[in-house]
């Protein structure tokens, strides 16, 4: 790893000012599991590493008056998987967090770090998409919110500007009869990125699918929001045929990268299988049954 200067600002204003001052030479670090690995391989060589470690108020989990779930960017994956509030109000996020890597990564890696890393193989982004999350960012110019499925622009790329820090996410409340599921297909060993992963959330109303969210990981150069699948489910009865037909539509929109976890045709076929399975699990979690 090349040498760098480590800076620990005490406030977010200081952090932003540091980013502006050092420009391209600066990289933010939270848990560090992503950045340190990249620096050790010399893929990234910042002159200055700006730690968010000491910033207060960015690791909270709260419900606001509208029952939106507000999670600070410095919450670790471990917090996400074990917080009673997250588990109750966004079980899909808790489940996806639980599947990330190993316990050691989860104690250090943060929500904010995961989101800006933007590796399409990651587990959190599809869950966040399926939860209609909004990303909150702050820059010297002020604050803004970006819907999560506009946040990822490419392979390891997001809309985050060089002078911006992700401060947290907001997740709107789910309807009462909502169920969700996160499936991570790991055909090799238990510690791996997914060959494909699916986050599904389904709201039932009198036995029909009122609404659905489906998002995939490891299926394209960004996490994939499968709107065509959602459109095919809305208003339908949750029959096996409906799920099969809806899931089949994902085959045309995935664009996976071939690697040792699977070829393109295999990942495509598995996307279809696991969308169908995740929908079935989500419906069961909502108290419904697939007929």
């Amino acid at each position: 790893m090349n040498a760098f200067t480590y800076i620990e600002p005490a406030t977010i204003e200081e952090a932003l000012a540091t980013l502006v001052r050092h420009g391209e030479e600066a990289k933010l670090i939270a848990g560090g599991t992503g950045l340190v690995n990249l620096m050790k391989q010399r893929l990234v060589n910042p002159g200055c590493v700006v730690s968010l470690r000491r910033l207060a108020g960015l690791a909270d989990v709260n419900l606001d008056d509208g029952k939106n779930l507000l999670i600070g960017a410095l919450c670790t994956h471990r917090t996400l998987e074990s917080s009673p509030i997250v588990r109750e109000h966004a079980p899909l996020l808790a489940e996806a967090a639980r599947r990330v890597a190993t316990i050691r990564i989860r104690t250090m890696a943060t929500l904010g770090g995961a989101v800006v890393h933007a590796d399409p193989n990651q587990d959190l982004p599809p869950a966040l998409i399926a939860l209609d999350a909004r990303v909150k960012l702050r820059s010297p110019k002020g604050e803004r919110e970006v819907p999560i499925d506009q946040f990822f622009t490419g392979y390891y790329e997001t809309v985050t500007q060089p002078d911006e820090i992700v401060t947290g996410i907001a997740i709107p409340p789910s309807a009462r009869t909502t169920g969700s599921a996160y499936l991570k297909f790991l055909p090799q060993t238990a510690d791996d990125y997914a060959t494909v992963s699916v986050a599904a959330r389904v709201a039932l109303n009198n036995g029909t699918i009122a609404d659905a969210r489906v998002a995939l990981g490891a299926a394209a150069s960004t996490p994939l929001h499968a709107r065509v699948v959602e459109d095919a489910l809305r208003g339908q009865a949750p029959t096996r045929k409906t799920l099969e037909q809806a899931a089949a539509l994902v085959g045309a929109i995935v664009d996976p990268i071939a690697d040792f976890r699977g070829s393109v045709p295999y990942k495509r076929d598995m996307a279809i299988v696991f969308v169908r399975r995740a929908l079935g699990d989500a419906i069961a979690a909502a108290g419904g049954a697939v007929i």
């Binding site: 480590y6 560090g32 316990i103 104690t107 250090m108 238990a190």
Partner: protein, 156 residues
Amino acid sequence: MKNIQVRVNGHPVAREIPDHRLLVDFLRYDLGLTGTKEGCSVGVCGACTVLLNGQPVSSCLALAVMADGGEVTTIEGLAEGDRLHPLQQAFIDYGGFQCGVCTPGQIMASKALLDANPHPTPAQIKEWMMGNLCRCTGYYKIIEAIQAAAAEKTEP
């Protein structure tokens, strides 16, 4: 360079280190605590597991400066003089190690497990310990050792 202050195994330590020093190198070479091992260097194998502020972390991915003001527990900090920690004794009695190089990491990770969940089921043990690779034992006896240590802890 940074001056950091860390409590390591209960003892206050103050050192001046380069900003980019990794925690694993700080422990092994600056402090001479070679009980923590480096295996894969990418945070996968778990040989470098230590407790940072009570949480299991990959010390090969942690910057030493991030431990400033905090507490680090390594394998050297578990035994009390001659008295082995129940996990250490269980790993000996149940064959939870062979070559021993992954063992400090295994024991630190299992300590973190029992701290968080004193009575884990075998499934919970496997899920927690999945990140600590072992090439010698095949894991069966590691799981037995952890179960045994957990059971001992409930004895009056």
